[in-house]
């Protein structure tokens, strides 16, 4: 789960990381009231989960209430690369002497935590990595040993962060590591991490991605989940507890298992079609789940055909077949189904489908993934 900047800063603050005084607003009046409370100058920042908001005019400096009103008014409702701005973060403007970069992630190859630290922050860090890889210090941290203040200090020195900022940076690194581990982040990133002319070090931005598997021990995440932006299809899928990602094509996809679902997208693409979604009904899916999946696909206006690709391991063919029969009787499907059913009890499943008397204009069965994809793409292209 990716957090908005304001949520990331609130999360950082829980772990003691210094951030600018500020608050979030959904209306112009609220934004002005926040600015009046914290004092000028303030920065009004669009809250969207997409890069490049500064260039798009989504970050503005205001030195009085009138300016705050004008900027909040122009930013709220603004469309930034397809993301509508519903909230602004208003914070006290900071004087900046220098900008650094710091992040923690998991390095899958090393199976260790990875600190990346650079004295060249405030810019696209991938560009720095490409042009001047030596400018980024990489330090692996053993998850059962953790990050010591001394190791953080050494990393700051190695990154050629000026001596007067090293203690402040090291202290934030230790706090950020605590946020990353105890806070169950997939990513905790500060860019820029700034040095003020007065000598304090401080997080000016926050990129936090949380590990959904850990939500059981973080009741405080509930408020973050409430602001996740989903389209209507994704909201319906979430209600039905399905792994769904909306895409832009015309072939609706239902498969069991993330790997098989991805593979189905690939095969549809190979035979000249385009997928409308990724939908994994998981292992052990029963009739109810299959019917729910078909409802979600059916809510997508762009879908011209539906490809169901099931290989039964734990999922049983007869359960899948029952779900399809039930769904066909319950909802009026917007597009014909092509199904490929194989694996555990597939014969039984095919028999149930054949005996249900569903017309061929509604459902056809194909023996292989490739043939099923061809048929579904042909129907979508009609």
């Amino acid at each position: 789960m990716d957090l908005f900047e304001y949520q990331g800063k609130q999360y950082f603050a829980r772990y003691g990381i210094p951030v600018s005084a500020g608050d979030v607003a959904t209306t112009v009046d609220d934004a002005v009231a926040i600015a009046e409370r914290i004092g000028y100058p303030v920065v009004v920042k669009a809250q969207v989960q997409v890069g490049g908001r500064g260039k798009a005019g989504g970050i503005k400096l205001a030195s009085d209430a009138d300016e705050a009103r004008v900027h909040a008014g122009s930013i709220l409702g603004m469309d930034i690369k397809g993301h509508v701005v519903r909230r602004v973060w208003v914070e006290r403007a900071s004087d900046i002497a220098e900008e650094y970069y710091a992040s923690f992630t998991l390095d899958r190859a090393a199976k260790r935590h990875l600190l990346m630290l650079s004295a060249q922050g405030g810019v696209d860090i991938e560009e720095v990595a490409a042009k001047d890889p030596g400018a980024i210090v990489r330090l692996h941290v053993n998850p059962i040993e953790g990050l010591s203040e001394a190791a953080a200090r050494a990393a700051a020195a190695e990154a050629r962060i000026p001596e007067r900022a090293q203690a402040g940076v090291a202290s934030i690194l230790v706090q950020l590591y605590e946020c990353f581990t105890a806070g169950d982040c997939d990513l905790a990133e500060i860019n820029p991490l700034i040095l003020k002319p007065t000598g304090e070090v401080h997080a000016l931005d926050a990129k936090v991605s949380l590990d959904a598997n850990a939500s059981f021990r973080h009741p405080e995440w509930d408020e973050f989940a409430a602001t996740v932006e989903l389209d209507d299809r994704e909201r319906l899928a979430r209600e039905k507890n399905l792994q769904y990602i909306g895409l832009d094509g015309t072939v609706g996809i239902i498969a069991n298992g993330a790997g098989l679902a991805m593979s189905t997208l690939d095969v549809v693409n190979q035979v000249g079609g385009s997928a409308a979604n990724f939908l994994d009904i998981g292992g052990g899916a029963n009739a109810e789940v299959m019917a729910g999946a078909l409802e979600v696909i059916n809510s997508d206006q762009k879908v011209r055909s539906i490809l169901i690709n099931i290989f039964g391991g734990i999922t049983r063919g007869e359960e899948v077949a029952k779900g399809i029969v039930e769904a066909v009787s319950r909802v009026s499907l917007r597009a014909p189904i092509v199904i490929r059913l194989d694996g555990t009890n597939a014969d039984e499943g095919r028999r149930i489908l054949a005996e249900a008397g569903i017309p061929e204009s509604v459902l056809t069965s194909k023996p292989t993934m490739l043939e099923a994809a061809r048929a579904a793409v042909a129907i979508a292209g009609r």
């Binding site: 998991l106 899958r108 190859a109 199976k111 260790r112 935590h113 991938e126 053993n142 998850p143 059962i144 581990t181 169950d184 997939d186 590990d211 598997n213 850990a214 059981f216 021990r217 792994q243 990602i245 895409l247 498969a255 069991n256 298992g257 993330a258 790997g259 098989l260 679902a261 991805m262 593979s263 997208l265 690939d266 095969v267 549809v268 693409n269 190979q270 997928a275 990724f278 994994d280 292992g283 290989f311 039964g312 391991g313 734990i314 194989d342 694996g343 555990t344 292989t368 993934m369 490739l370």
Partner: protein, 300 residues
């Protein structure tokens, strides 16, 4: 021969009295796996269809001499269960549990490395391992796998994805090709056993004559495998990588498959494997057909 498990492997199931543990534990036994014990704290003295249940892994090992553990407990309890098995001296632990926090996985792996280097963990969030005709630990439907033949050639399979693992077994069975061992390493961020671990074992296994590998987008495990193959694997290989058309930056289900920047793309992985001499199919059926060609060549 086979890798990791064979007809001598004796298995205890942690969580045998729970829904998943019972269902799959009994299925594994029905397949012919020697399931000798179950472990559920507080339920010592009970049995599940004749399989005795013990309070701890140590008790189960002392009573039955089990050599492998099948962990089928919920995410909150799984890391402790894995470490309990290792502490009791179990050398091979299969964990199918889905949904363990990544931080817990990282700590569990690091603890195994430091304190129990002799214990191999397969998973978490994996379908398990099957040496067809000998031993099946996990959730694979055993009947879709063809046992190896004495004369060969037989294929070893290693895969990051559950359903694509079944697909691969099925494709080979359709072609009449036997499988020595099929290992599902799982798609979580910190898998206990990697592609490289399995490739090294298959390379050393006399019963395995060719290797099929199934990867997916995200991470760099396939790229590392390609490097290892180029330097160490002489047996012929085919492969398939899922996710060529996956939208960048989207997380696909439980796969932990995140594409970031130019790294971890399906194309990059396919190129790396081709560079190492692996024949790469564009879909699972094509990878199966390529393996059939390889096997036909070996038979000649």
């Amino acid at each position: 021969m086979a890798i990791f498990v064979d007809e001598r492997t004796t298995v205890l199931v942690q969580g045998l009295t729970g829904g998943q543990g019972r269902y799959h534990g009994l299925r594994n036994r029905a397949y012919g796996t020697k399931v000798v014990a179950g472990v559920t704290p507080g339920k010592a003295g009970q049995d599940v269809e004749g399989i005795p249940v013990y309070d701890s892994v140590a008790d189960a090992v002392a009573a039955t001499g089990a050599t492998a553990s099948f962990v089928a407990v919920p995410p909150k309890a799984a890391p402790a269960a894995i470490l309990e098995a290792a502490r009791a001296g179990v050398r091979f632990v299969v964990c199918i549990t889905e949904g363990i926090p990544a931080q817990d996985e990282a700590r569990t792996y690091a603890t195994l490395q430091r304190d129990f280097p002799g214990t191999r963990l397969l998973g978490p969030n994996c379908p398990g391992v099957i040496s067809p005709g000998k031993c099946n630990i996990g959730i694979t439907a055993g009947e879709i796998a063809l046992p190896p033949s004495a004369e060969g050639p037989n294929v070893g399979i290693v895969s990051r994805s559950g359903t694509l693992t079944y697909q691969a077994l099925y494709e080979l069975k359709q072609q009449g090709i036997g499988v020595s061992t099929c290992v599902g390493i799982g798609g979580d961020p910190v898998p206990g056993t990697s592609f490289v671990d399995c490739l090294a074992e298959f390379q050393a296994d006399p019963e395995t004559h060719a290797i099929m590998m199934i990867g997916e987008i995200g991470g760099s495990a396939e790229e590392e495998a390609a490097e290892f193959i180029a330097a160490n694997v002489t047996k012929p290989m085919s492969a398939y990588i899922a996710g060529v058309t996956a939208p960048p930056g989207k997380k696909m289900g439980h796969a932990g498959a995140i594409v970031s920047g130019g790294k971890g793309t399906a194309q990059g992985k396919m190129d790396a494997l081709r560079g190492a001499g692996v024949r790469v199919g564009l879909n699972p059926t094509e990878a199966g057909a390529l393996m059939a060609e390889i096997v036909a060549g070996l038979r000649r």
